[in-house]
Symmetry: C2
Subunit: 398 residues, 2 copies
Amino acid sequence: MAIPFADRLNNVETSAIRELFKLLGKPGIISFAGGFPDSAMFDVDGIREATSAALAKDPGAALQYGATEGFNPLREQLAHFMAQKGAKDVVPEQLIVTTGSQQALDLLGKTLIGPGDKVIVEGPTFLATIQCFRLYGADLVSAPIDGDGVQVDKLEQLIAEHRPKFVYLIPTFGNPSGALLSLERRRRVLELAVKYNTLIVEDDPYGDLYFGEAPPPSLLALTPEVPGSRDLLVHCGSLSKVLSPGLRVGWMIAHPELLAKATMCKQFSDAHTSTFAQATAAEYLRAGRMPATLDKVRRVYAQRSHTLCEALRRELGDAVSFVQPQGGLFVWARLTGAGGKVTDGNTYAKQAIEQGVAFVPGAPFFCAEPDHATFRLSFATVSEDKILEGVQRLAQAL
Amino acid sequence: MAIPFADRLNNVETSAIRELFKLLGKPGIISFAGGFPDSAMFDVDGIREATSAALAKDPGAALQYGATEGFNPLREQLAHFMAQKGAKDVVPEQLIVTTGSQQALDLLGKTLIGPGDKVIVEGPTFLATIQCFRLYGADLVSAPIDGDGVQVDKLEQLIAEHRPKFVYLIPTFGNPSGALLSLERRRRVLELAVKYNTLIVEDDPYGDLYFGEAPPPSLLALTPEVPGSRDLLVHCGSLSKVLSPGLRVGWMIAHPELLAKATMCKQFSDAHTSTFAQATAAEYLRAGRMPATLDKVRRVYAQRSHTLCEALRRELGDAVSFVQPQGGLFVWARLTGAGGKVTDGNTYAKQAIEQGVAFVPGAPFFCAEPDHATFRLSFATVSEDKILEGVQRLAQAL
C-alpha cells in the first residue's frame, strides 16, 4: 500500500547532515561534528545520589503520572536557578517543564504556527528548529547575523515587512554561530518586540557555558528594563548542555495565556515529562551541586575552545576566518578562498573525512540564502591532543 | 496583546472532566475517577536497582543524547517482551521507543492526519486520543461498541463510507469501556484492514492486566493468520500501567516506511525519549522482574474489580448496568433509569461528589453522539474497604 501521509511531511526532508554522519563510523576519525556535551564530564555520582534521594523521599510521586505543567519541586528549583541567573521575578507558576527544549520548540510550533505563517529565525540557526517549525507550515525568514549576533537594523526591517508570528533567537553562544548578542542589541530586540507587538522566543541552552566573564543578561532578565517586553518574551531553557541531555529536562517561561495553551498541547503530546527524570533533576539542583558542575564544564570547554582556535589560526591561516567564541560548544568558520583553497563547506567536509577528520558544513543551518563557505566545528567532546591532530588533518584537507 | 494562536487550537477545548477534577480536593472523598495505576504497587526496589545498574554499566550512554528511534538495549528488551506476548517475529528495528504511548498517538497524528481527514475511533474511546487527533484537524467518526468491543459490521460500513486515514482501537480492556474484543472480531478487523487497504492502530496499554485467563492474542500477534495485515497494523505499547507511568516509556511497531516518518517527526518533537528512563527500563526488563510484578498487579486489580462489581450489583441493583471487566482498570457503567433514578451521568457525578465519592461521566469519551447515561469507575487505586464505602455513597447519590 501507499501510506497516506499528511501533507505537512512534504515541508521537511531528512537532514543533509545525516548523510555525512553515516561516514563518521570510519575508524580513527576525529570528529568536530557533534553538537553535544562530553559524556566524560557528566556528574554521575551526583545524578545517582539525586535519583536515590528522589526514590527515598517520595517514590510514588517520582514514578506516577504527574501534572502536565511539570513536577512542582522541579519547577521551584528551576525558578530559583533562573533567579540566580538574573531573572529574579520568575515564579514556579510561570514556568512549564518540557521534554528537552526541543519540545518547547514543538509546543511553540503547535500553539502558534499555521500553514504559511511567517517566523523570523537567525541565518544561520539550529537545524532542528528550522525543520520543527516547517512541519507546522512555517514560512521562515532569515535574519542575518554577525559576530555580535543578529543584526538588529535588518531584523527591524524584516519584522516590519513580514509581521511574523514570532522571532526565534539563540542570543547567547548560538548553535551553530557561537555568537554572543551584545547588550546594546539585546535592549534593541526587546524594544522591537514592544514597538511591533511581536513575540520573541529566546532559546538559551548555552548561556551558562561561558569561558571568561559572564555574558550580558538574558533577554528575559532584561525585560524589566523595557516596559511591556515581558509579556512578549518566551524563554526556553535546558539542562541538556550543562547537566545531562539524557534526562530530557527543559523548560519554557512565557505569558500565562501562551503557557496555558502550550500546556494543553503538551497534554496531548506526551502527557508530561518523565517524573522520574524531573524528580532526579529537582534533587540534583536542591543538593547544590550545579555551581561546581558548571565551573568544571566551563573550564574544560574554555581550554578546548582556546586550543582549537589557536590551532586553526596556526595551521589554516587566512584560508579560514572565524570569531573566537566566548562560550558554548561551537566555532563557526568560513572558508575565505585565500591562496586558491577550497571555498565550499560541503566539498571541504568530504575532503576532510578522507583525511580522517569530520565537521558539519554550514549551508543547512540557513533557512534561506545559505552561505556555502561556512562550516561548524565543535570542540566539546574532543581532547586537546586530538584537537591538535584534528586541525592538522583539516589543514591537509584544504 | 492578543496572542496570535494557530487555528488548530480551535479544534479542541480543555477537558470537561478537568472541571470535575477540581472538586476532587474535597477532604475525605473516595475517588473512582482516576485513570492511573496504584503507586503503592510500584516495584521501587526493582527500579532503584535498574537505575543503579544502568549508571554502573554505561553512565555516558544513559545520560547522553541517544538515537531518536530509542536506546538499543531497550528496543531489544521490548522486542523480547512482545515475543513473550505472542508477537514472536518483532525485531528491535521494527520498534521505536516513544515518550509514553501518548506520544505514539501524537506522532501518528503528525505523520498521517491533515485537516479534514477522517479517522474512526471507538465510541467511547480514550479522551486524550480524541483531543490529540483533533489538534491535527481530524474529523473523527465514532464506531459503536458492545461488551465484546467494536461492532465489526458497523465498523465495516463506516470504513466503506468514510475511507478513513486509519482506525484507532483499544481492543483489550479499553479505556473507558473495559471491553475485550473477541477473537472472532479481532480476525475480522484484520480482514477489514486488508479488504479496504486501511491502517489499523492497536493501542494496547492494558493487555497485560488480565484477571483470569489471558485475553486473545493482540491484533499484532494475529497478523500472521491474515495475509497482508501486518503491513497495515500499527501497535502501540506502554510500561505506564504495568511498571511506572513516570518513566514515560512507550513504543510503536509499524510498517518501516511509517516508522521512518514517525521517527523524523519525533526528532523535531523531543529529539528522543529520556535515555536515563530508557536505560532504567531496559535494565528492569533484563533483570527478569516483570513476570512477578505483573502477577502482583493482576492479583490486586482482579480482587478490587471483583469487590467493586459485587458491591455495585448489591447496592445499586438495576439502576445501573455494566459488563464485568476481565482486565484493565475500569468498569464502564450505564444508568438505566430503573425506579425513576437519575439517568444523566454528569448530574449523577455532581450528586456523587456531594456524597463524597467521585467518578467520571461518560459523555466526553464519545467523539460524537454521546451516551449521557454512561460513566466510568476505576477500581485501581482504591482499597477494598474504601471500595465498599464508596459504593454505599454511590447508592446514596442515586
